[in-house]
């Protein structure tokens, strides 16, 4: 993959006076949906502001699709940004909000009008578009912000907490929209606190804590590299007691616990691949295995292992 297809951070640090924003960040973000995950104050918004050129790094360099972030004229042709908080100029209707930003972007009246309606249609706000934003619900505000961020057809879409305040139906529609955009080759970079959704929608995640990137990549890849936390695997079977006894034949298994409902075993192993081979052997020797599923290779668990312990320690 070419560097010009990626958002690249090279040894980037940002300090607000004595306060650390982010420190020594090295990242290459490919197209697709990338989620920034971390607790409040971990540096998610700083990272987003850095990649959209709204703030300059104290050290290091950032290139978005090969464009330096201190070149706004070119950078903002290719990026769209949706802020976390409501940012509406006073008295605007939804239509005016999107249209005015397209005019600032440099579109002439006719093209701006056409692109405005396209974006509004895409987020499903055609009917209330002529109403003032002040009268919009939280979900409508989120959607009109999303419309202004995609209206000029950016290649990199940066969305700070875009799912906040959306009801389940609109949330599903919005996630589907992100997926469509990402499948078309757009970088969709999202920050979110809702971990199960991050898991569901992301192609890759970046975990942040106290201004540092603690993990990045596909969530299962990140999980498999966390050797100090044995992988938890839930095996559903007809004879959990026999299975539990058998799995301890393997040194890498550190714990086996009969499930509360008595119909499975939760196994903790340091070597999942070896364990899966052992399961084949067990299955051939009289234990009927109904299902095997990793129990902690989701964002929630990774977050808990990498960041939760730090949070608890503070």
């Amino acid at each position: 993959m070419r560097a010009n297809d990626q958002v690249v951070f090279e040894n980037v640090s940002k300090f607000y006076g004595d306060v650390l924003g982010v420190n020594r960040v090295n990242l290459s973000i490919p197209p697709g949906i990338t989620s920034l995950v971390g607790p409040n104050g971990s540096g998610k918004t700083t990272l987003m502001n850095l990649m959209t050129g709204l703030i300059r790094p104290s050290r290091g360099s950032i290139r978005v699709l090969g464009i330096r972030t201190d070149n706004p004229e070119e950078l903002f042709r290719y990026t769209g940004y949706c802020t976390q908080f409501d940012s509406f100029p006073k008295g605007f209707t939804g239509y005016q909000f999107v249209y005015s930003y397209l005019r600032l972007y440099g579109c002439a009246h006719g093209e701006a009008e056409e692109l405005t309606w396209k974006a509004i249609e895409r987020v499903g706000l055609v009917e209330p578009a002529r109403r003032k934003i002040a009268g919009y619900s939280k979900g409508m505000r989120q959607r009109i912000k999303l419309a202004q961020s995609i209206c000029h057809g950016p290649s990199v879409l940066v969305l700070d907490e875009p799912l906040n305040g959306l009801d389940p139906l609109v949330r599903a529609e919005t996630i589907a929209l992100f997926r469509t955009l990402a499948d078309d080759g757009m970088h969709v970079i999202i920050s979110s606190h809702i971990l199960h959704e991050v898991d569901q929608i992301s192609d890759q995640v970046i975990l942040l804590s106290n201004g540092y990137v603690v993990a990045e990549g596909k969530i299962r890849g990140v999980r498999s590299e966390m050797q100090e936390h044995p992988m938890q695997i839930l095996v559903r079977c007809n004879r959990p007691g026999a299975l539990a006894a058998k799995v301890f034949e393997q040194d890498s298994v550190v714990e086996a616990q009969i499930h509360k409902d008595g119909l499975g075993v939760l196994v903790k192993t340091k070597d999942p691949d070896k364990f899966y081979l052992l399961l084949n052997h067990i299955a051939q020797n009289g234990v009927t295995i109904e299902s095997v599923a990793p129990a902690d290779d989701d964002v929630n668990s990774v977050y808990e292992y990498l960041i939760g312990s730090e949070e608890a320690g503070r």
Partner: protein, 286 residues
């Protein structure tokens, strides 16, 4: 699933010239201003004085009416530096009042609504933002100050002949320059206060307070120190001195005209610096 195929196509249509984009803000700001009926009423009333002056100039050149009034040419009104200084004094007062009314609404709402990140995630700079907002005030106040002054100049030139126009061209230049620096100063003060004081009413009151306080404080310094140094912090005194130089009249402000210009430009510079500190895409609370 990572994506390596790019079927997505960004906007590649024609763009308006980069230099003209700040007009978008100007246009929206002016539209917002004229939503206020009060402002529209004051704006319309501000044309009362130019109409009276135009009428006086006309009377001054109408032999029939002069005969009826038993007056001679130039006895009704003398169109010279004093005339334009007086005219711009009245119009400047109205302009200042309007600025105190609309100035706080230029930047404070954008800051209060957190709209700046969205402006600056376009190919749009801090300088263009300030210029766009400044132009909205500049256009509005121009129609109250130097534009009617030039209209009066044109009427007088038309009635007196081309010789008068050439001989008195300094009046036209003076009207433009004095109005220009005055508008620039009060607009920047209003915008700077609008950026720092988000509560609109307080910002409006502060604009009035700053102008009167600085004038009063300057006068107090002059009184205590028996010097003219206080004039340098009084925007009113500085404008008076600059206008006197431009229109060739006497001034009660006894400081060199060059230093008055410098002090006014320094005030504008301070306001720009204050604006630069606040008009930022991301507000960092230390």
């Amino acid at each position: 699933m990572a994506v390596y195929k790019r079927s997505y196509r960004p906007y590649t249509g024609r763009l308006t010239p980069a230099w003209s984009r700040f007009f978008v803000l100007t246009r929206y700001a002016m539209r917002g201003m004229f939503k206020s009926k009060f402002l529209t009423a004051i704006f319309v009333l501000s044309f009362f004085s130019p109409l009276i002056c135009a009428l006086l100039i006309y009377l001054n050149h109408n032999p029939t009416i002069l005969t009826m009034m038993h007056a001679r040419h130039n006895e009704v009104v003398s169109v010279n530096g004093e005339f334009f200084l007086g005219f711009l004094g009245v119009q400047g007062g109205i302009a200042f009042f309007l600025t105190a009314f609309i100035g706080p609404g230029t930047i404070a709402p954008d800051l209060a609504n957190g709209a700046l990140p969205l402006y600056f995630c376009r190919p749009f700079s801090q300088a263009e933002y300030i210029l766009g907002k400044l132009c909205s005030l500049f256009y509005l106040l121009s129609f109250i100050t130097w534009v009617p002054a030039l209209a009066l100049f044109a009427i007088e030139a038309n009635l007196s002949g081309p010789g008068w126009m050439w001989e008195h061209r300094s009046l036209a230049i003076g009207s433009i320059l004095s109005s220009g620096i005055y508008i620039l100063m009060i607009s920047l003060i209003a915008m700077a206060l609008s950026a720092w004081v988000k509560w609109r009413i307080a910002a409006g009151a502060l604009i009035l307070a700053v102008m009167f306080f600085l004038s009063g404080f300057g006068a107090a310094i002059n009184g205590v120190l028996h010097s003219n140094i206080g004039f340098y912090i009084s925007p009113g005194a500085l404008i008076t001195r600059v206008c006197a130089q431009l229109f060739g009249t006497d001034s009660p402000v006894n400081i060199p005209a060059g230093s008055a210009w410098f002090a006014l430009l320094a005030m504008c510079g301070i306001c720009l610096m204050l604006l630069g500190k606040k008009v930022r895409p991301v507000e960092v609370v230390g």
